[in-house]
């Protein structure tokens, strides 16, 4: 199928972008940095085309459905969302240096996706619902925001450590990274995008479950894990309101939050059983 070809091309371009971002951090030449940004953007454009093509091909096959319904498609969409959120943040905050920490995500996710089944399969009746589309899109933009915040939080912790030993090679790598206050701020802002979207994702999921199965909440592992993630980020937001919890502790919570997000997305399917369709594919 031609959409697979495009997805492979996109994976390769994401790989190139990652290498360029790392080269940029190492050599710090603006030319390389600009090239890295444009390469990532090119990967994003190719992936957008690939998603569109896959959607079109599903109609050609007489199945006709949005490409968001199995593990492969969800991973691909996840990579797409991480890429676009990062591209927008980079433009807004002019923090190209974050790229070295965030750009590996799209590549790793696409590489992982290529190991799963790429087949376009028809949808079982329960999945034939517009709520599925709203649910998946909102959840994944939320997850992607958390991924970006995770990268920033790690960077934050490392930066704080370097700020505590200012003497050590001042013109070096860490001097080049934005100050920790900015990193903390941007990390909070990304979570402020992710949290409402995760909330909408959980609510649309509950609404859909209620229409399909007659119960909006049944504590199945996937639902429960999404709630766990939600609890952690709610704790993060309130911890920041009380003074002492800005900075380091908040960064740790954001890292724990993303670990829970990953488990919610992949761990539940691979390790625990549940109602969710991604489990079997």
């Amino acid at each position: 199928m031609s959409n697979s070809l495009l997805f492979n091309a996109c994976t390769l371009v994401y790989f190139l972008a990652m290498v360029l971002y790392i080269a940029y951090v190492s050599f710090r030449t603006q030319r390389v940095g600009r090239l890295a940004s444009w390469t990532l953007f090119a990967g994003f454009v190719i992936e957008t085309a690939a998603l569109g093509l896959r959607w079109y091909e599903s109609y050609e096959m007489g199945i006709g459905r949005i490409p968001l319904t199995n593990l492969y498609e969800s991973l691909v969409f996840f990579a797409w969302t991480v890429a676009i959120i990062y591209i927008l943040l980079e433009r807004k905050f002019r923090l190209r240096i974050m790229g070295a920490f965030v750009s590996p995500f799209p590549f790793i996710i696409m590489a992982y996706a290529s190991l799963t089944s790429k087949e376009i399969r028809p949808l079982i009746p329960a999945l034939q619902s517009n709520w599925l589309t709203y649910h998946v899109i909102t959840c994944f933009i939320g997850y992607a925001a958390f991924a970006v915040s995770f990268g920033l939080s790690i960077l934050y912790l490392m930066k704080v450590r370097s700020e505590q030993n200012p003497g050590r090679n001042p013109g070096g790598f860490w001097g080049f990274i934005p100050d920790s206050v900015t990193l903390d701020e941007v990390s909070y802002k990304t979570i402020a995008i992710g949290f409402p979207l995760l909330t909408i994702g959980i609510v649309t999921g509950a609404f859909w479950a209620n229409v399909a199965w007659g119960s909006y909440w049944s504590w199945d592992p996937k639902e429960t894990w999404s709630l766990i993630v939600w609890f952690i980020y709610a704790a993060y937001l309130h911890a920041r309101i009380t003074r002492g919890w800005m900075g380091k502790k908040a960064a740790v919570l954001s890292i724990v939050g993303f670990a829970a997000t990953l488990f919610c997305y992949l761990g539940v399917n691979l390790i625990l059983a549940g109602l969710h369709s991604y489990g079997s594919s």
């Binding site: 399969r121 028809p122 079982i124 009746p125 329960a126 034939q128 619902s129 709520w131 701020e185 402020a192 949290f195 409402p196 909330t199 909408i200 609510v203 509950a206 609404f207 859909w208 209620n210 229409v211 399909a212 199965w213 007659g214 119960s215 909006y216 909440w217 504590w219 592992p221 429960t224 894990w225 709630l227 766990i228 609890f231 952690i232 709610a234 704790a235 309130h238 911890a239 309101i241 009380t242 919890w245 829970a260 539940v268 625990l272």
Partner: protein, 464 residues
């Protein structure tokens, strides 16, 4: 009043105060949220709500005993988990009570005059001097700011002749606190009402049959105030063999009259008087079948037309047969789909009955059992049934109302802020004036600062 009594009262009061401070604290909230997250993990690792016997297959008897005592097999309803939720609700109520006055005051309070003292408390400010009279400056400043702060502004002139202009945006966004936090309580309330006054059950309804009562999940029998008739059931398959769509044509009958007729499908249920019927599964039951006894040489020995659940004699042989089960797609041990199969109990004149599967498409399948004759089945007549999930949940409306409030509240909290701007203009000498501009926002301060900086830049250009 004795001294000890007085100090006793004091400690009591300070104890109440400490307790209140604890219950309304953000620290308690953060601890509770993280605790709930940690506890919930247990419920995703230990499968919930199985019959107790099944757990003995996975765990040692002692472990089952301990886990059962701790409520780990139904942990989301265990006293400790529910206590955490109750404490969260108390925390929310206490927090709302202790903050609502401050929040309402923030909404109501309007400072119209930018005096020295107030100016000192504001985060963003700038003073600019002009060689122009104050009236001109006022008009120009109003022009610049009004483009960004649409809506009414307030103008006050103080005794010293200074003009104060006050602008603001999104004052009521301060109320997002109530929207966000009360919504959680509303969702809780909806959940509680649903679990006390609602029920859920599952029924198989044969085509042509009528539903009048059902057994709920908790084992009670519920009579409906109306009847639901399944007029027809229908499945459509993809060419891969997976079901594409299944639907039941249902009629709701009340007092002998049909009130509603609707075809329900997965994701499109029917609701009547607060009770909802969901398309959940489907299947078929055998109504009757022809069962033949065949000699090993292939000649017919005897025959019977047997009805489901009825023991029927077969001519020519001593055994009686009873159709007891049916599968549309019988799976052989090698994984092959062997098509329709009838489960039959065979009753010999003496001794124990035994169950066998007879395959309609493989008439010699039963021969492998041995003996001098075997059975085969023909003309299986099945009746399809539709599997309906039935549920009543009077708390649902509150849950969705709360959910919408929660989403709106969160969006408001993150993306809208109450922004205020003051501009004061006073005459310093003939034809000269001084303008002071200052602003304040309750969140997203850096974005607001950029906005104000842009305004200040324009203000500085007035001179030319």
């Amino acid at each position: 009043m004795s001294v000890t009594e007085e100090t006793g009262k004091k400690t009591k009061r300070s104890l109440t105060r400490t307790l209140w401070a604890f219950l309304s604290s953000l620290k308690l909230l953060v601890v509770l949220l993280l605790l709930l997250a940690a506890l919930s993990i247990a419920g995703t690792i230990i499968e919930q709500g199985l019959p107790l016997q099944q757990y003995y297959r996975y765990y040692k008897p002692l472990t089952v005993e301990i886990f059962n005592r701790l409520g780990l097999f139904d942990m989301y309803h265990s006293w400790w988990f529910v206590s955490c939720l109750v404490l969260l609700a108390v925390n929310l109520i206490a927090c709302t009570i202790s903050r609502y006055k401050g929040i309402l005051a923030g909404v109501k309070k309007k400072t119209l005059v930018l005096d020295e003292h107030f100016l000192r408390s504001l985060p963003f400010k700038e003073t600019i001097c002009y060689d122009l009279p104050p009236e001109k400056i006022r008009d120009a400043a109003l022009g610049i700011v009004s483009r960004r702060f649409t809506g009414k502004h307030t103008e006050t002139v103080t005794a010293d002749g200074t003009r104060h202009l006050f602008f603001e945006k999104a004052r009521y966004s301060r109320l997002s606190f109530f929207l966000t936090h009360l919504s959680i309580l509303i969702i809780f309330l909806g959940g509680i009402i649903g679990s006390f006054f609602g029920y859920r059950g599952y029924v198989n309804l044969l085509e042509g049959d009528t539903l009048q009562r059902l057994q709920t999940r908790s084992g009670k029998i519920r009579a409906l105030d109306f009847q639901v008739k399944c007029n027809a059931f229908d499945v459509e398959f993809y060419n891969t063999g997976e079901p594409k769509d299944y639907r039941s044509d249902l009629s709701v009958i009340k007092d002998g009259r049909e009130v509603i007729r609707k075809t329900i499908r997965v994701n499109d249920p029917l609701t009547f008087e607060g009770i909802t019927f969901f398309q959940s599964s489907y299947g078929a039951l055998p109504e009757k079948a022809t069962i033949e006894a065949i000699n090993n040489d292939g000649s017919l020995r005897g025959t019977a037309i047997a009805f489901f659940g009825e023991r029927t004699a077969v001519s020519g042989i001593p055994d009686a047969v009873e159709p007891a089960d049916y599968q549309e797609h019988f799976v052989l041990p090698n994984g092959m789909d062997a098509g329709p199969a009838l489960g039959v109990n065979i009753y010999p004149p003496e001794g124990r009955a035994r169950g066998v599967w007879l395959l309609q498409n493989y008439p010699r399948y039963d021969r492998m059992r041995g003996g001098d004759y075997f059975f085969r089945v023909k003309n299986i007549v099945v009746r399809e049934y539709t599997g309906l999930q039935v549920s009543k949940d009077p708390g649902e409306f509150l849950v969705w109302t709360g959910s919408i409030m929660l989403i709106l509240g969160i969006m408001m909290a993150f993306f809208i802020s109450h922004r205020q701007l003051w501009v004061s203009i006073k005459a310093t000498a003939e034809g000269k004036s001084e303008l002071t501009i200052a602003g304040k926002a309750n969140r997203n301060r850096d974005t607001y600062k950029r906005e104000i900086d842009a305004i200040i830049r324009l203000m500085k250009e007035i001179v030319r």
